[in-house]
Symmetry: C2
Subunit: 287 residues, 2 copies
């Protein structure tokens, strides 16, 4: 497993997209397709191949988790500017997995109850169960992104949160949750085009909010906040991956491959029967 | 919408499968394919057609729920004997919908905490949010099925529960949740064959439990408990549908059609923009 998905890449895509020492967000081209030499059409085919693989991996992970809680879940953290395609990743990548094996949580503006607790309180409640793929549509990182840009918390609290997030993710990892953090990176121009499409299509009007236009004036501040996030929270146990996302097909294929890699590292096997098969066959036949 | 899905049936399948006055479970043939004159191959094609329809319906329901909370969710309650194919329905029918629009809850043996509360406590916590399709993999009905057969509660408590369930479902319906209750009906022989398959396939061994064989001796008691459930809880606001399930392809197609009918009755429309489109286009273009 995982071999087919790897062969489609001309280079190690995980390595290419991973945030490491000296990473500069503004140096990433959102229109790029790093590591992939083919186009959209082949990309769709490769996505379909990977879909079946991902589905089987999750099945195995679930089965395995019934007998062994080590390496028990995968958590995909999705962060991005509006319209970057988080929803499309969930639909087209995560959607290929048995829905019983998936736990998706969209984090909105915190409720009054949530605000009474530490920022990680609502995050902890949303973690995947053993055998599941958890997906965070926005996450704990909103609390150091929008919270920083809009000054929703004092600077020293924002400061504290980077460390709290790292500790939290380390603990998750030690408890068998594989954390995959992805930022979908679109360009300022592409966001304009996608918002315009929402205005052009009656079936998309409900997705548009006039506030989305105002928010665009804060773009440079968000990019700067992301840069800090990468510097402070891309760790060995939970590194960040920045995925160019102006081409939706590329972003989907890349995230699927990152997920497949995560599973390949876990490589969950079907559990072995803890009963005598011949005995049970005979008992069953007698009913 | 819904037209294509209806045309594939030779008769009104909802009417054929609905539990009404005088229904007798033992009179239903689990190997039947009522209302459908074609075979497995055509069934798979019709399922694919319906999948796209169901996906769009849920999208519309979600969009609509952002502006209008009436008719806001659909709840599919799945009950069945082991191996009847609940998981397959979730994977192959519900799985065609955007996973963000689905909330699946599998009800297992109640935990000590759950047992401290009324039997509906854990059910209420699992209801779908506005715009979602909720799926109950087992449900409140376990508390009048296994609880009755295994005498886990005194008879007067079981008695009380039928009424409590009816009241609960009526309230749900009045609050805009469309409740679709489905029993997948397999034969005693088919269950044996499916359990045998689990023993034959190493990737299915983990799904087999020696207790499954013992449980088969209670089959008549379960059928009797189901019969009582149908008599006491198939109401106008939340009727039961009994779906012959020895043919998996038929059961999937039938449940999909029942879901499509439910949505067709709601017929959610895309919300109309509450902002001036031309103004927003100009503002956006200026960014």
């Amino acid at each position: 497993m995982g071999k087919d998905a790897e062969d489609i890449w001309s280079d190690d895509v995980a390595q290419l997209l991973r945030v490491s020492e000296g990473f500069i967000l503004s140096g990433v081209d959102p229109t790029g397709t790093p590591g992939y030499a083919h186009g959209k059409k082949q990309g769709a085919k490769d996505l379909a191949t990977g879909a079946a693989e991902l589905d089987e991996y999750q099945d195995r992970l679930f089965a395995r988790s019934r007998v062994d809680a080590t390496h028990s879940s995968v958590l995909l953290v999705l962060q991005a500017m509006d319209t970057a395609g988080k929803g499309g990743i969930i639909r087209h990548v995560v959607g290929s997995v048995d829905p019983q094996g998936v736990k998706i949580t969209a984090f909105k503006k915190p409720t009054p109850t949530e605000l009474k607790h530490d920022f990680l309180w609502r995050i902890e409640k949303a973690l995947p169960e053993a055998g599941q793929i958890g997906v965070f549509d926005r996450s704990q990182y909103e609390d150091v992104l929008v919270a920083k840009v809009r000054e929703l918390a004092p600077p020293e609290e924002i400061e504290r949160r980077y460390g709290a997030i790292n500790d939290f993710e380390q603990e998750l990892t030690e408890n068998g949750t594989h954390v995959l953090k992805v930022m979908l990176h679109i360009s300022y121009e592409e966001q304009r085009a996608r918002l315009m499409e929402r205005l052009d299509r009656p079936d998309k009007h409900w997705k548009f909010n006039p506030g989305d236009v105002d928010e665009r004036s804060l773009w440079p501040h968000y990019m700067s906040a992301y840069q800090t996030v990468f510097e402070r929270t891309s760790t060995d146990h939970a590194p960040w991956y920045v995925v160019p996302a102006d081409h939706k097909w590329y972003a989907r294929l890349a995230v699927q491959t990152l997920l497949l890699r995560t599973f390949a590292a876990v490589d969950p096997h079907w559990p072995v029967a803890d009963y005598d098969i011949a005995t049970e066959r005979a008992r069953l036949a007698a009913t």
